[in-house]
């Protein structure tokens, strides 16, 4: 009896391995689409319930929203200032491309409850979502599309240890790389001769065909600088509370 159950377990292990090797098999794709469609509504309802349960006071929430809008206006002001200077100097111009945005609902997450590192949204291949596309909330970058299936996608947040993106600072235009460190976001590889300050916004630099430029990643809350080192780093705090997001937009 014991040997029989072990044999059956081995068979099921083999079946799982075959499924793992052939994820694009048509019946699996059809089943995935069906399951995701069926579970979409209960997941959405449950996630909304969770956000309602963990919500902070109304006044605090309003203040945070106002603060976020002010930072967005500040970023827009900085961009207009740069455009103005560029036009005056007649050397260069920076353009902001109009974005084609798709609305998506957040229906799940991975990672710690109050500090997730991945979100699951209810849009997938069928909605034209592709790997690497930027996910935004207002003018703030939420993350990048990491995995796409029929009707759901995973969004890698900037706190995810696999996250990496070219960036620039809003005031001094200092170039760097934003990386996820699990608990926080790190601005890395900023040349020591460039200037970064506390309170300065960090924006996306813009990568061809994926992440548009001038999206707010966060603000610098601390700078780690040693004159003897070739690079300096900064700790970034996002203006978006990822654990409280209900809807996001995907930039096509």
């Amino acid at each position: 009896m014991k040997k029989r159950i072990n044999l059956i377990l081995l068979i099921f292990l083999l079946i799982s391995f075959l499924v793992f090797l052939n994820p694009t098999f048509l019946p699996f794709k059809l089943a995935r689409g069906f399951v995701q469609a069926v579970f979409s509504v209960p997941k959405s309802a449950l996630y909304t319930l969770k956000l309602g349960f963990l919500s902070e006071g109304k006044e605090l929430s309003q203040l945070k929203d106002e603060n976020k809008k002010l930072y967005e206006k500040l970023s827009e002001y900085e961009r207009l200032k740069r455009d103005n200077e560029a036009l005056r100097s007649q050397f260069e111009t920076s353009s902001s491309n109009s974005q084609n945005l798709i609305l998506a609902k957040v229906i799940g997450f991975l990672g710690p409850l109050t500090n997730p590192n991945t979100l699951v949204i209810d849009k997938g291949e069928r909605d034209g979502i592709k790997n690497g596309q930027a996910v935004v909330s207002g003018k703030n970058l939420v993350g990048k599309i990491e995995k796409v299936s029929e009707k759901y996608s995973q969004v890698m947040l900037p706190t995810n240890s696999g996250f990496s993106l070219l960036s620039k600072s809003s005031q001094n235009n200092s170039q760097g790389i934003v990386r996820g460190e699990g608990d926080f976001i790190l601005l890395d590889q900023v040349v020591i001769t460039e200037k970064i300050e506390n309170g300065e916004l960090v924006l996306t630099k813009g990568e061809e065909n994926s992440v548009p430029s001038d999206l707010i990643i966060g603000k610098i809350v601390s700078v780690n600088r040693r004159e003897s080192a070739p690079f300096q780093t900064g700790k970034i705090e996002s203006l978006v509370l990822f654990s409280k997001l209900e809807t996001v937009f995907i930039s096509k």
């Binding site: 059956i8 793992f20 089943a31 995935r32 399951v35 997941k43 449950l46 991975l110 710690p112 995995k147």
Partner: protein
């Protein structure tokens, strides 16, 4: 309702909760308990289907959850002679270890203290339950 059907319902809720509001291997927990109580082919079929649904809902690699789950069940089954898996204390220790490894592989919450607290609470509740003969 029959206990087996109740466990299947519990599996469904574990799937929904795990993929939506708690990043914790609930499905793995319920699956292992299900197998220990009903070690037959029908159980394994339900667990295979459930694992695939779990992968669909997390948009993860299809078959990955099932691979881990059946590897864990095979381990428990093979070492059944050495580890008395029907003893709740041994089962909880095994589940604790499997949960940590699962959380690491699938990027779930991996806070050792939190897992210790959760399993410690379950252990205490079962211990008191058996001691006071509330559970037989």
């Amino acid at each position: 309702m029959r206990p087996k059907n109740l466990l299947i319902l519990l599996l469904f809720f574990a799937l929904l909760i795990e993929t939506t509001i708690i990043s914790f291997p609930l499905f793995l927990f319920v699956s292992v308990v299900f197998f220990v109580l009903y070690p037959d082919t029908k159980t394994l079929l339900v667990l295979l289907a459930g694992s695939m649904v779990l992968d669909f809902l997390t948009s993860g690699n299809l078959g990955a959850s099932a691979l881990f789950l059946f590897a864990a069940l095979l381990f428990l089954s093979v070492y059944q002679g050495v580890l008395d898996i029907k003893n709740y204390k041994i089962l909880l220790v095994a589940l604790f270890a499997f949960s940590l490894v699962y959380a690491y592989i699938f990027s779930y919450t991996l806070n050792f203290i939190v897992y210790l607290l959760i399993y410690g609470t379950i252990f205490t509740a079962l211990f008191v339950g058996f001691k006071k003969k509330l559970i037989y």
